[in-house]
Assembly symmetry: C2
Homo-oligomer: 427 residues x 2
């Protein structure tokens, strides 16, 4: 089988580079782009994808929330069989890189083309999907289109989401990408997403392909500490209720707890205070208030829960020791996702047929695959990041690694589509 599926590495590279040009930004190093959901750069990327899907001969449809799907039904196959689907997303963070999302979409397109042109016998339809709004930079906190496809979010609620000026429905309408119906991931036989790692494990190990076992769960919170603003010259050390001193202890507690859990547990726990704002934030005033954003993750929900309890204890201690008032709100909680063993095994088989070494690892970042995995068997593949950069113009992947991963993806799609056995039970 492996001799017959040929990947066109140049075509893959061209598609990613062309799409990277839409919304490209100045950067000292690397190639950067800004393409927020339904903005001009994103619409041009969508138009280019539709054009490319059609030129490859796929049947294109756009659903009500702007998810784009391109299907190839093998002539010898069953057009009503559950399809094998691969893809990712076309949107980016502000000043993001050109691989995050784009690699998964165009690797899927090239893989489907290669399988079709190979003449390998497949029975199930193959489909390429680009989800709307994965990054969470506009309209929602992330994984927008895949939440709708997984039935977690209704089409109506999604269309009503606003960026403060305009609703998603209106923005898609104006962009010409408000279609009809709803892409339903529960009808898929399997889903595969190839993504850049956004970390350093593959590069460090010298392995060209990662197979993800688990996607981290994430809890995000708002923390506020209220002390008393006071003149930094006339307020003695013992008379202070310095909100920044209390917040500093909090930051260290978060870091120590996560490090301890990471050392003793699954090794995937991370805890971060990424945002911290003192008030009034001037040189000669003892800070009266500090607001913070907290990000706690692990592939094991119990390890997230342990971090949350440590945070609560830390804030209680600060109230007693520093005379401050604290508040904690955790409105964003996504549980960890275990990925399909069946699909992972298939990818392993495909990789070994091509002599491609693989590394199993977890994903510390969220992906559309989290949503899809709730309703069908799903896998997530990683191509190595050069230097581990992410959400930056410095984000990079070797083109040869991209081609290797795309070859394994194509082989995996062919294997998964080669029989019409019943849909596997979810794990």
């Amino acid at each position: 089988m492996d001799a017959t599926i040929d990947i066109d590495a140049d075509s893959l590279r061209t598609d990613i580079e062309r799409t990277g040009d839409f919304g490209s930004v100045d950067a000292e190093t690397g190639l950067g782009r800004t393409a927020l959901p339904a903005d001009d750069a994103n619409v041009r990327a969508r138009e280019y994808l539709v054009e490319r899907m059609e030129s490859v001969g796929l049947d294109v449809r756009v659903d009500a929330v702007g998810n784009i799907a391109g299907r190839w039904t093998p002539s010898a196959g069953d057009p009503n069989a559950a399809p094998v689907v691969a893809g990712s997303h076309l949107d980016s963070v502000p000043r993001g890189g050109i691989f995050d999302g784009l690699l998964g979409v165009y690797a899927a397109l090239e893989a489907v083309r290669a399988v079709r042109d190979s003449g390998v016998a497949v029975e199930r339809p193959l489909e390429v999907v680009s989800f709307t709004g994965e990054e969470g930079t506009r309209f929602a906190d992330g994984v927008l289109g895949s939440s709708v496809a997984a039935g977690e979010l209704s089409v109506e609620d999604a269309l009503d989401l606003s960026d403060g000026r305009v609703s998603l429905g209106t923005a898609l309408e104006e962009a010409g990408f408000r279609g009809t119906g709803r892409l339903d991931a529960s009808e898929w036989h399997a889903w595969l997403e190839l993504h850049i790692e956004q970390g350093g494990h593959l590069e460090e190990a010298g392995v060209p392909l990662g197979i993800v076992t688990d996607i981290t769960g994430t809890s995000r919170g708002h923390v506020s500490i209220d002390g008393r603003a006071a003149h930094s010259g006339t307020t003695g050390m013992h008379a202070r209720r310095d909100a920044l001193v209390a917040a500093s202890e909090f930051v260290l507690n978060v870091e120590e707890t996560a490090t301890e859990i990471a050392t003793t547990g699954t090794g995937t726990a991370v805890g971060t205070v990424g945002r911290l704002n003192p008030e009034p934030n001037v040189v000669n005033v003892v800070p009266g208030n500090v607001s913070m954003r907290l990000d706690l993750r692990s592939v094991d929900q119990l390890e997230i829960d342990r971090q949350v309890r440590a945070v609560e204890t830390s804030l209680d201690d600060l109230e007693h020791e520093h005379g401050v008032e604290t508040s904690l709100d955790i409105p964003y909680e996504i549980p960890p996702t275990r990925l399909s063993e069946r699909v992972r095994d298939t990818v392993e088989t495909a990789a070994s047929r091509h002599g491609v070494e693989t590394l199993t690892l977890h994903s510390g970042a969220g992906h559309d695959t989290m949503q899809v995995a709730n309703v069908t068997d799903a896998a997530l593949l990683f191509a190595p990041s050069t230097g581990g950069y992410s959400h930056s113009p410095k984000e990079w992947a070797d083109w040869s690694d991209c081609a290797v991963a795309t070859r394994v993806l194509a082989e995996s799609l062919a294997l998964l589509a080669s029989n019409t056995e019943q849909h596997h039970t979810y794990e």
Copy 2:
């Protein structure tokens, strides 16, 4: 003597309230104002002061940097004798209170008027002075006019100072307050400034008047910590160089060092990180850089030096333990100021004649008196703050306390001006 010098408490209050109306701001509690050097509110305050000085019969002059002086020469006195001078400033911080500066100017005006009308025999001229730009909110970092009067800053350099749009010279010219010559504090026999405490010692002790022995020295620094920005999900705890974690240790070190020195030393040491800005400061990115502003004070320069050495050691430790790079710059260093024993003793005598209890204490905030004390004998008096508020519309002082302090100020001026003995050597 004490029976003959009568303070008009209503006039003092009216002058402060009227001036507080210029640039008044909305505040839930208290009375606030914004009057930056040479802005509209400050110019109206200046015009009102000149008008009041003239109505009291003082000879008014404005020097090249906008310092305003109003002199009364007693008919029986020596017009060429070194004058006894009192005053403060008319500018405010943004959303400051109505006592900071204004109390010192109008207490001086009312004291001079009361001495003149009392018929008490004085030989030296008495002068009321309002210095330009004490607060450091425009054109300079503070004590602008008094630096020129003390010969620390030349008239030319002062006039060239810019707020980014306009020079001080041009702004004063347009406001009609660019005069000629230079007020020379080294020619004064003595200087007295009455100021609101901006702290809680007098209120706590239930004492209506503070006599300041020392004004704190202040060293202010810029601290920068460079780590590595990284994805908070994909970067393990051990792979991080989190600039905010390092900065949090730094904040705690500054606080611990100052507390230790304050406990064992003069009791006046304070150390504050008032400003802290992480970059990029978003929830899902490990902070790559943190910049901070540092404020270290004590009445003992050695205690400031100890704090600076502890800061340097802390940054060295952070470089070794966290793999971060750090930088420290301390461009602002004002040494502690010891105030004149002679003038303080005179104030004590004046207070005891009126049965006014006093408390000797230090000033944790800087004042124009710091500059004047470099070139002549100077004293600083405090009226009690209600609630200790400072640089806020909540700043407050009892009007009766203001009147008591003004009475002691008037008595002190009369005592200091009652003979023409040679100028005392500086301490």
